[in-house]
Amino acid sequence: MSTTNNIAQARKLVEQLRIEAGIERIKVKQPFSAVLANVSKAAADLMSYCEQHARSDPLLVGVPTSENPFKDKKPCIIL
């Protein structure tokens, strides 16, 4: 690989890292996605989402056979 290629690649990497390092990190939750939060806050949000939607998650709570189109109403008979 030529030196010019190496420099071009390294330049790209530095540009990218500058962008990432520039993302503001604060502890308060805000709607804009570029603002960051610490893990305890982020984890709490993930947990609360799970909790809020748990009851409407068919694979999690299980739905009765009559309501799940994939579960056959009659038992399968192997002929």
């Binding site: 330049r11 990497l13 962008i19 949000d45 994939f70």
Partner: protein, 361 residues
Amino acid sequence: MRSPPTPEMATQEVPLNETLAHLKTESETLKSKLEEERAKLHDVELHQVAEKVEGLGQFVMKTRRTLKGHGNKVLCMDWCKDKRRIVSSSQDGKVIVWDAFTTNKEHAVTMPCTWVMACAYAPSGCAVACGGLDNKCSVYPLSLDKNENLAAKKKSVAMHTNYLSACSFTNSDMQILTSSGDGTCALWDVESGQLLQSFHGHAADVLCLDLAPSETGNTFVSGGCDKKANVWDMRSGQCIQSFETHESDINSVRYYPSGDAFASGSDDATCRLYDLRADREVAIYSKDSIIFGVSSVDFSLSGRLLFGGYNDYTINVWDVLKGTRVSILFGHENRVSTLRVSPDGTAFCTGSWDHTLRIWA
């Protein structure tokens, strides 16, 4: 040999006649600064926070349907928004549309290439997109007339310089996002075939992508052979966040339903969860007994369960919050290559190198 610049110096403008050595030192400094900043946010682990959450009970999930018809390895599948139709693609070059309730085949197209690695259903349910070794992504409108030759209406949309690894329609039938072995992702206008935006940043083949849930805005995540998962802004083409903790190729990425996190599955036999606001990996789903790569991952509707299809023919079901495995499912007779939960969360479908697809519930 000059001593490396101090962190304060790194924030000053680097002179235009920068050399490779200067750039290298600056990138190292920026990398450590990033690590420092990330570490400051790491005050606790996800599974510690989740200790107070109730554990999950026993899960009984079985194969409810087996879709047979492909002549070779199934490589990819996608659900239609109507929650019953499925499109699948195979190494044999065939793309099949199935009614998952009845297991009937509704459409079949033979592609001009083998290894159709990617397929996707259009949001309207009126078309499917697919591609693979032909380096293209083509869209086929689905006709109600079963006798109509679908191949005649084929529209070539995307052109890459290497294989197509994944494709997905955006919120409408009008745009498609693709990822390729050529190391890039791209956004295309379906009608004109025009390239709208390209995404450069991966250092090797990009293997997978997933669009953020529409409420979260215009971003998507991609995973590649460079072990990185990148989050991209669709409008600007910029990579806004990057995660590199996997030890091998990332085969699958999927957003958590809230859009605040995403999961990944890798050849390193682990699945991981990355939180976008904490800007770091927050969970790793692994066991010493699991040594085969993960090909495909997806969440249940609430995000509490993570399903992983593995190269050892099994499906492992993980408790996303606690980090433990809640179930292991057997049935396929070869690698599980693709896995998607249905749009209403009532079932999930897997495709395998054993030529079949299975619906589990």
